[in-house]
Amino acid sequence: MKGIPFLEGKYSPTLDLYPIECKEFNRIYWFYDNLREGRFTTTKCKACGKVSFPPRVICPECYSDDLEVVDLPTKGKVITIVEKWGGVPIQYKPPMIGAWIEFPDDSPVKHYFSLLYDCEKGQVQEGDEVELYVFDVSPHPIDKGRESIMKERVFFGFAPVKK
């Protein structure tokens, strides 16, 4: 099989940071498809109304599997910011910058911790607005019969709002 990162000197599959996002291996593949369209989405239970994040295949409140997709805010406010200088995993360059983000009052998800991308040291201050940031990650091969095909992947974080 071609494209296995470990066999091409990249990293071991067990050390892969990101989920396998394709339909063949993940029932919430639509979340990642929506990311590609700039949407930050999750699941809402049609039976009891509970909005859950991360998205699910059952409602954690009432165990109904009758769920619908709803949009979450793509902008939030930085409450606390952190820069990590030591012990940074090799895929990242120090500092790793992350933030505890608060979403607007009407958001079903109140807070989220995210890495900040496209962001220099000292660029973001507490109270600043950040927005959803979607980026490509290494595609991953999957078996398809006797062949292997590459599946593209994306992931998300947040980034300073461009002024």
Binding site: Y11, T14, L15, L17, Y18, P19, F53, P54, I79, T80, V82, E83, K84, W85, G86, G87, V88, P89, I90, Q91, M96, G98, W100, V109, H111, Y112, F113, S114, L115, F155, G157
Partner: protein, 395 residues
């Protein structure tokens, strides 16, 4: 099935640190230290094994671990032979499970053995492995995996909300290093000064190098026996397991339960449950081992465990209330910060220290200690585990 009492009768650990040894070497050293702790105790007295380890599957490429461990340490289990994986709380979880098995009559004498071999030829891998010890699909890729990131936010929020200072964080590290001077099997035996702390590299502000526990190779073991069998095996005071609790949330990044990150209501709930089940209150606890993975952790833990008022953890620790002679001596063998933190073994080291404290044979002895408590947090602070110990059983 019965309704028995469960007692700790032996405990021990191997030398912790960066070890030139494999995980099966470490578990043998720890099992020997544990059995040697009680003259006359033999592997053949033990009918059950609970092995606690999280990274053995990734770092040592061994899954289905318990039968291998049993064979290496000469046990022939007939009641239970299994592995638990609760990261930093694996050892304490094993102790709670052993208590339940012994009290129910399912087992008679159980060894709880924990081990991690974190330093392997490619030592950088552990930084990646930690991404999988939190919610791998959500929290890991978003940076919660390396613990200092997450605990820096918690420290900053506690400072903003309650006025906690860097000097108060330092007081925790200095105290625990001081306690660790008397623990030759811990990772470090070093007197830590404020100058050391001020000159140390920043890991994730406000946390510097000495605010963080090290990554450590190590193993520890404890033997828990049914009360009547314990009386046959030991002449020392019996140390009873009185009950505990484990409270878990999911996805720390999106579902943090506190008003701020400096509030840990899931620990408060675990403490309430543990006190209720053990028939104890915070004032009854004479000595405790709490999960000082970072200096800020111990400050928040003394608050949520009820040893001081919420928001007073910083001044409480700085005033010396956590050392011998203080209101509640904590981490009396050095804690994670000085002794190190081989995840699955940590709760067993803590339990063994409480066991020795209550029997009056600890290195930093709390005089007259009758009741003790251990606490672990695990997996990006999504879970809290508490075990209580006493010189008398719960009535």
């Amino acid at each position: 099935m019965g309704n028995f009492n469960a007692c700790v009768i032996a405990g021990g650990q191997c030398k912790w640190g960066v070890r030139e040894a494999s995980y099966v070497d470490l578990i043998q050293e720890a099992a020997k230290a544990c059995v040697d702790d009680l003259p006359g105790l033999k592997p053949s007295n033990i009918d059950g094994l609970i092995f606690a380890s999280t990274f053995v599957g990734r770092r040592s490429t061994q899954v289905n671990t318990a039968p291998v461990v049993a064979e290496r340490v000469g046990l022939k289990p007939t009641s239970i032979c299994t592995r638990v994986d609760v990261l930093c709380a694996g050892g304490s979880t094993g102790i709670l499970l052993a208590q339940g098995l012994v009290e129910s009559g399912m087992a008679e004498v159980v060894m709880v053995l924990g081990s991690e071999k974190l330093y392997t030829p490619e030592r950088w891998q552990i930084q990646y492995d930690e991404m999988s010890a939190v919610d791998h699909e959500w929290d890991g890729p978003n940076g919660i995996g390396p613990p200092p990131v997450w605990f820096s936010v918690q420290a900053q929020e506690h400072m903003k909300t309650y006025g906690t200072t860097k000097e108060q964080l330092a007081a925790v590290s200095i105290t625990n290093y001081k306690h660790g001077l008397m623990n030759p099997k811990g990772h470090f035996q070093k007197e830590l000064t404020m100058k050391d702390i001020e000159e140390a590299p920043v890991i994730a502000a406000p946390l510097g190098l000495f605010d963080c526990c090290p990554l450590t190779d190590g193993a520890a073991a404890m033997v828990i026996a049914r009360e009547d069998i314990a009386k046959d095996l030991t002449d020392r005071p019996l140390v009873y397991l009185r009950g505990g609790a484990q409270v878990s949330i999911h996805s720390a990044g999106a579902n943090w339960p506190g008003k701020t990150m400096g509030d840990w209501p899931h620990l408060k709930l675990a403490a309430e449950k543990a006190y209720e089940r053990s028939g104890l209150t915070p004032k009854d606890i004479d000595v405790a081992q709490t999960h000082d993975c970072f200096s800020i952790s111990e400050i928040i833990e003394v608050e949520e465990l009820g040893f001081c008022e919420k928001g007073e953890g910083g001044p409480f620790c700085e005033a010396g209330e956590i050392t011998i002679g203080g209101k509640i001596p904590i981490n009396t063998d050095g804690g994670l910060i000085s002794s190190g933190h081989p995840f699955g073994a940590t709760g067993i080291r803590m339990g063994t220290e409480i066991f020795k404290q209550l029997q009056g044979r600890a290195a930093n002895q709390v005089e007259g200690a009758k009741f003790g408590l251990t606490h672990n947090l695990s997996g990006g602070n999504v879970e809290h585990t508490i075990v209580t110990y006493g010189l008398e059983p719960k009535k």
